[in-house]
């Protein structure tokens, strides 16, 4: 299953490293990364493959949100279909 990880907040050093470490620990493979600054906001978007992760997506999502709070960023993990549904015909 593919999921989209979004990380938003104020830009600072080490964000990618910390998020990548979290995903690696969960056995989640990063397929693509893009990073952008929208206004004054740092936004990183990752497409990831969760097929080898032993936890279900809801638990990963909850753990990612908690990790995000620890590093002062908003981190979400969502099934890719929500974005496919809303932005493609």
């Amino acid at each position: 299953m593919k999921a989209v990880v979004t990380v938003t907040g104020t830009d600072r050093k080490g964000i990618i490293a910390q998020v990548s470490a979290f995903l690696s620990e969960k056995n989640i493979n990063i397929l693509d990364i893009s990073q952008t600054i929208l206004g004054d906001r740092f936004a990183m978007i990752m497409l990831v493959d969760t097929s080898e992760c032993s936890e279900d997506l809801a638990s990963v999502s909850a753990a990612a949100a908690e990790m995000g709070r620890d590093i002062g960023m908003s981190v979400r993990v969502q099934h890719e279909d929500i974005f496919n549904a809303m932005h493609t015909v």
């Binding site: 938003t8 978007i45 497409l47 999502s61 929500i82 549904a85």
Partner: protein, 449 residues
């Protein structure tokens, strides 16, 4: 890879603009539950609802977490109970209590379907059933009741309209601040697959068990319009359509996925803009974003007509099956823009009635003086039903004659039901008109065969 702007737009819709799926409602047929006594029927109803909806709440919560979109309400709708208790209507309250217990056990927010369809005539068992509604609402917490008093094909049953006015008054008397009336709605042209409360019920033409979903998102529409303050109304309609498409696609995804996991057929997506009392989640504020100084002023009906139409056009394209009420809701107590306009005196009862000619439902969640006569409430319903009948649309009345309250007072319902300033109604008596009873004949243009 995804377009970053699209991804961030979705995140912002959810986190800043209150995008959510308002309700996942499981419709359950109670027809297999009819037994030889009220006690045994109530027991069968409890067992069947609990069995069918056993996994509803955990499954919907799981879908919500995986897709990262809030799903605010989990609900159940059932076959109109008057049909289940037709052999012992005076004991219908036993089924009401069983349904309320089931709703509690399942952890759903509301359960709808304590209902009767009397749009052409009121059978004896239906009259007896209707009279149990106030007590049923007073003795339950999650149960919602509804009555269909008219349709474009059959006309308006004015005997039922008269009775409903009395039931509303009695319900107000039996429940604190009249809150029972917030769980009771009277319709013309009721939708049999409506997932929204208080009017949800599971029509007899529906599947054994089905999943219907109601979307929402007035905040998202308002936000999208805020980027185009100079757009003409043709362009504004296009913006609303595009936004409604996105909102509805999220609802369609949730509906299909929840239905698949629960192993029941997907029914419909109800394309509705349903406000909440939260700031930034208001239909009234969309109308003001379009250029009205205040909702309720001249131009409001036109703006609402355009909004309602654009929501449907955008939503229809986004969903494989559309149904329910589908359009913009204008409940007064559940919309911060409406509440504030009512407090300022900017919106009147008459303007709300005019708005119901072009929006998806009717006069909704309006507190009126506690001493309003039953015949006036019936007359309010008769007006709404006539609008629905002649225009071939669903209309409804959900008013709360708050006991002891007068114009200028406020009634607090709490939560999503919000608060309502008590609005004045006309005081000219309709007693004689309502007491005539009979049928308002169906309009000539209803004969389409």
């Amino acid at each position: 890879m995804f377009n970053s702007t699209d991804v961030i737009e979705t995140i912002d819709m959810i986190e800043k603009e209150h995008l959510d799926v308002r309700t996942v409602t499981m419709g359950i047929s109670l027809l297999p539950c009819v037994r030889e006594s009220a006690e045994k029927t109530a027991e069968a109803v409890y067992g069947r609802v609990c069995k069918c909806a056993e996994k509803l709440v955990p499954t919907v919560e799981q879908v919500s977490r995986e897709y990262g979109i809030p799903i605010v309400n989990k609900r159940v709708s059932v076959t109109p109970v008057s049909l289940i208790t037709a052999a012992f209507p005076e004991k219908s309250a036993l089924v009401a209590l069983a349904l309320d217990r089931a709703a509690d056990a399942l952890g759903v927010d509301f359960l709808g379907g304590y209902s009767a369809l009397v749009h052409k005539a009121t059978a004896d068992y239906e009259r007896a059933f209707l009279k149990t509604i106030p007590e049923a609402l007073a003795s339950t917490k999650k149960l919602c009741a509804s009555v269909n008093v008219g349709s474009t094909r059959s006309g308006v049953n004015m005997d039922a309209v008269k009775l409903v006015g009395e039931l509303v008054k009695e319900t107000a008397r039996l429940t604190p601040e009249g809150i029972g009336c917030a769980k009771f709605v009277a319709f013309c042209n009721a939708a049999e697959d409506n997932p929204f409360m208080a009017g949800a019920f599971h029509g007899v033409g529906e599947a054994d068990c089905t999943i219907n979903v109601g979307v929402s998102g007035p905040g998202v529409v308002q936000h999208a319009l805020s980027f185009a303050p100079e757009a003409d109304l043709t362009e504004a309609a296009e913006i609303i359509k595009r936004t409604a498409f996105k909102i509805t696609r999220a609802g369609q995804l949730v509906a299909k996925e929840a239905a698949r996991r629960l192993g029941v057929p997907f029914g419909v997506v109800d394309l509705s803009l349903a406000p909440t009392p939260a700031r930034g989640d208001s239909v009234a504020h969309i109308l003001e974003e379009l250029g009205l100084e205040t909702v309720g002023g001249h131009g409001t009906t036109a703006a609402l007509a355009m909004l309602n139409d654009a929501v449907k056009k955008g939503g229809v394209m986004a969903s494989s099956r559309v149904g329910g009420l589908s359009g913009a809701f204008i409940p007064v107590s559940e919309d911060i823009g409406m509440i504030e306009a009512a407090e300022r005196g900017a919106i009147t009862f008459d303007k709300l009635e005019a708005m119901t000619c072009v929006c998806s439902v009717g006069l909704d969640m309006i507190a009126i003086p506690g001493d309003t006569p039953a015949s006036t409430i019936s007359a309010i319903l008769a007006d709404e039903a006539a609008i629905g009948m002649v225009n071939g649309k669903t209309t409804a009345v959900r008013v709360i004659p708050a006991p002891g309250k007068k114009v200028g007072d406020t009634v607090n319902f709490g939560g999503l039901l919000g608060r309502a300033p008590v609005m004045p109604v006309h005081t000219g008596s309709a007693e004689k008109f309502i007491s005539r009873g009979g049928i308002l004949p169906a309009p000539i243009h209803s004969f389409k065969n």
